[in-house]
């Protein structure tokens, strides 16, 4: 800094005060993060090793890894893990593909682009629970608008029970989730798309490169960092899915939409088994921690100025 004098003691004091100042500025944030995130997450760790059965007196005998082994030897745990994986992979893939398409549209020089951008924002802004209630109505077997639309168009002969089978319900939940999340993905990818210099495309045109060739040799490589970051971000979010399932199916039918977060919730609060519930929560935390590590690495590599 230009005005800092070169006297060593002054400099040390200034340094010192900068650290002190930083500590003051960060104190509230650190208080928040430790008080309501770090402390609770440690506490959950403690519960995971004890047999807590009632919220009224949250103490229990130490059971070692008993809760973890009980949780992980249950069939319902592994099947909910499997369903979570399916939800995560399918929804993330669908969001990326559709999101990239929409980002392309939003980036194209067409009239009314601002209108399209405004319209695309809407699903993202709808609260998750409202979104779930909305799609539950759309897929309703008797009075839903999807059945009405498809029969009136002559595509269906009779009404289908969209949420009636485990497989079907899971896919319908995915549709609801994708509809709400695609705008987010599209906007994130749009930023990457807009940053690709126009000249590269001009050059490709002069070289008479085809549309596909341009897409694969310019767009995809340049978009790869953005795509991978968005993908990890979506995987992390999808792995935690709860709200939309609570609103649409409550984990049914036949456990078909019971994801790991939902299973954890029912174990803790419907079965009042806080010990196993905490162990399940920790298993989610471990998965998320691994994914986050990948995410943070990817962020670092993408010329982040902060880290």
């Amino acid at each position: 800094m230009s005005k800092t004098p070169a006297v060593p003691t002054r400099k040390r004091r200034w340094r010192h005060s900068q650290g002190f100042f930083a500590a003051c500025l960060l104190a509230p944030a650190i208080l928040v993060v430790f008080g309501i995130i770090i402390y609770p997450i440690i506490q959950t760790g403690v519960y995971a090793f004890t047999d807590v059965r009632s919220a009224m007196h949250p103490k229990g005998p130490f059971v070692g890894f008993g809760n973890f082994s009980k949780a992980m030897t249950s069939n319902r745990f592994w099947s909910s893990m499997g369903r979570t994986l399916y939800f995560t992979i399918v929804s993330t893939a669908a969001e990326l593909v559709i999101g990239l398409g929409i980002a392309g549209l939003l980036n194209a020089k067409i009239r009314g682009r601002w209108l399209l951008r405004t319209v695309v924002v809407i699903p993202w802004a709808i609260p998750t629970i409202v979104n779930g209630a909305l799609w539950k109505g759309i897929f309703h077997a008797q009075y839903g608008s999807l059945n009405a639309l498809l029969t009136q168009l002559g595509i269906l002969n009779s009404y289908k029970v969209w949420l009636g089978t485990p497989w079907g319900a899971m896919n319908m939940v995915i549709i609801a989730d994708v509809w709400k999340t695609v705008p987010l993905v599209a906007f994130l990818l749009l930023a990457g798309l807009a940053s690709i210099p126009e000249e590269l495309y001009e050059a490709a045109k002069i070289d008479r490169a085809g549309r596909w060739k341009t897409f694969w040799s310019i767009t995809v490589p340049l978009m790869l960092p953005a795509i991978s970051i968005v993908m990890i971000l979506r995987v992390i979010e999808a792995f935690k899915v709860f709200d939309v399932i609570y609103a649409m199916t409550r984990g049914g039918p036949a456990d078909g939409t019971k994801t790991i977060a939902y299973y954890t919730y029912t174990t803790a609060f419907s079965d009042q088994n806080y010990g196993i519930g905490s162990a399940l929560a920790y298993i989610i935390v471990i998965v998320i921690a691994l994914l986050s590590a990948i995410y943070l690495r990817a962020l670092r590599r993408s010329e982040m100025s902060l880290i």
Partner: protein, 419 residues
């Protein structure tokens, strides 16, 4: 300068936090009116209007007490009681017959055995009296007996030349259902509440009873994977395969069944007492006056127990107004109050059933209740009922949607419940 600014900000933040904390701690009402918070459900049973009316009547008699009612769906009721328990939010909660064991062992509601009048054992119907008991102690006051009855669309039944007498057994019901379907009066004559929820256990239990089975064996362990349990589930699945049961039933709760009846889309459905009034209410029904009630049909054994769906009113452990809450509960469950609203929830009290002033308000319901309350099938009274029920719900559904055989599904449910 710099430090002064920081100090000012710190002071400002501290002041704000303290002001907010104080605002949060200051009691809202300073006069000596006691306000009780009560948690009810809005589903079967008394309607929200009826409960509000009862509470207003109580307040009129007891000027020092106000009761603020909160209504949630049945599906949200259990978790709400559990999550509000440490805070002591509620003074009165509605308790289902399957929860006393769990809530007693986790100390969520208080033991009210000492407040029981010994005469009640004689004065109350058997199906109501035991509702809140676990391990010999009472954890609430029953709010009436309850079971599922058989509702039918009289017009459809008559149109295929059948009568009430044909609906006394499940075989008879299926025979009439086939005719109704063939006549094109209803695409699916039967609708059930088979969603993954407690509702499917109630329907299954009622059928299980009719087929001569029970949930548990002599030792109290879940035993639905025996021959009767499996054939009951196979029977349910068969009605879907035969096109008699609406396949959307696996997404239905009781409300959906009631609506299917009220819309004239289905001929038959099991449901709670209050459906008789609601399905015949011209505001909600296009077939008002045509929905009739019968006791649940009998199975091959001639048995026809109804699932015991009674509920009770309890006081959460952290309530600060136990005596006032108990007074309100006694009023709500008292004969005088209950006799005024027999159509939502029939009264606890034996004497009400021979009082024409009460039965006259819903003669059909009381006629059906005579058989319906005589024999009931009880869901297991165990502390881990919820997790066992959850496993059983998933198993029943797996068989209904055809992803597992009934035997396989029920074996797994029994194994999961034993864990």
């Amino acid at each position: 300068m710099k430090n002064r600014t920081i100090r000012a900000i710190v002071a400002g933040l501290t002041a704000t936090v303290m002001a907010v904390a104080m605002a949060a701690c200051t009691p809202k009402e300073s006069d000596d009116t006691i306000t009780l918070n009560a948690l009810f459900m809005q589903q079967a049973g008394y309607s929200q209007e009826q409960i509000d009316e009862m509470l207003r009547a109580y307040e009129a008699d007891n000027p020092g007490i106000k009761v603020k009612a909160t209504y949630v769906s049945y599906e949200a009721l259990h978790d709400k009681i559990v999550t509000s328990a440490p805070a002591g939010t509620y003074d009165i909660v509605l308790l289902d017959v399957i929860w006393p064991a769990e809530f007693a062992t986790t100390n969520i509601v208080i033991d009210v055995t000492d407040r029981y009048d010994p005469a009640w054992e004689q004065d109350m119907l058997g199906g109501a009296y035991g509702t809140a008991f676990y391990d010999g102690k009472a954890y609430g006051m029953p709010w009436g007996p309850s079971t599922k009855f058989f509702y039918y669309n009289e017009e459809m039944v008559n149109a295929v030349g059948a009568t009430e007498a044909d609906l006394a057994t499940w075989d008879g019901v299926l025979a009439v259902a086939k005719k109704i379907k063939e006549a094109g009066l209803a695409e699916y004559p039967l609708a059930w509440s088979w969603m993954q929820a407690e509702a499917v256990i109630c329907d299954y239990g009622q059928l299980l009873g009719a087929f001569g089975g029970d949930f548990t064996d002599a030792d109290g362990n879940l035993a639905v994977n025996n021959a009767v349990g499996v054939s009951t589930l196979a029977w349910m699945k068969q009605t879907i395969d035969d096109g008699l049961t609406n396949p959307a039933s696996t997404t239905f709760l009781e409300d959906d069944v009631q609506k299917a009846l009220a819309q004239g889309e289905t001929a038959f459905g099991l449901n709670w007492e209050s459906t008789l009034v609601d399905a015949n209410d011209p505001d909600q029904s296009v077939v008002a006056g045509k929905i009739k009630i019968l006791p649940t049909p009998a199975g091959p054994t001639g048995l026809r127990p109804g699932i015991n769906g009674a509920m009770a009113l309890s006081i959460p452990t952290n309530s600060k107004n136990v005596d006032a809450a108990w007074d309100v509960i006694l009023y709500l469950t008292g004969k005088d109050n209950q006799d005024k609203y027999p159509t939502g929830w029939p009264p606890n009290w034996v004497s009400s059933y021979s009082d024409p002033a009460v039965t006259g308000q819903a003669p059909e319901l009381f006629a059906a209740a005579e058989i319906g309350y005589a024999d009931t099938i009880l869901r297991p009274t165990v502390p881990n009922y919820n997790s066992a029920s959850d496993a059983l719900q998933a198993a029943i559904q797996a068989a209904l949607v055809g992803s597992k055989t009934p035997q396989q599904a029920l074996d797994e449910a029994v194994a999961a419940a034993a864990q």
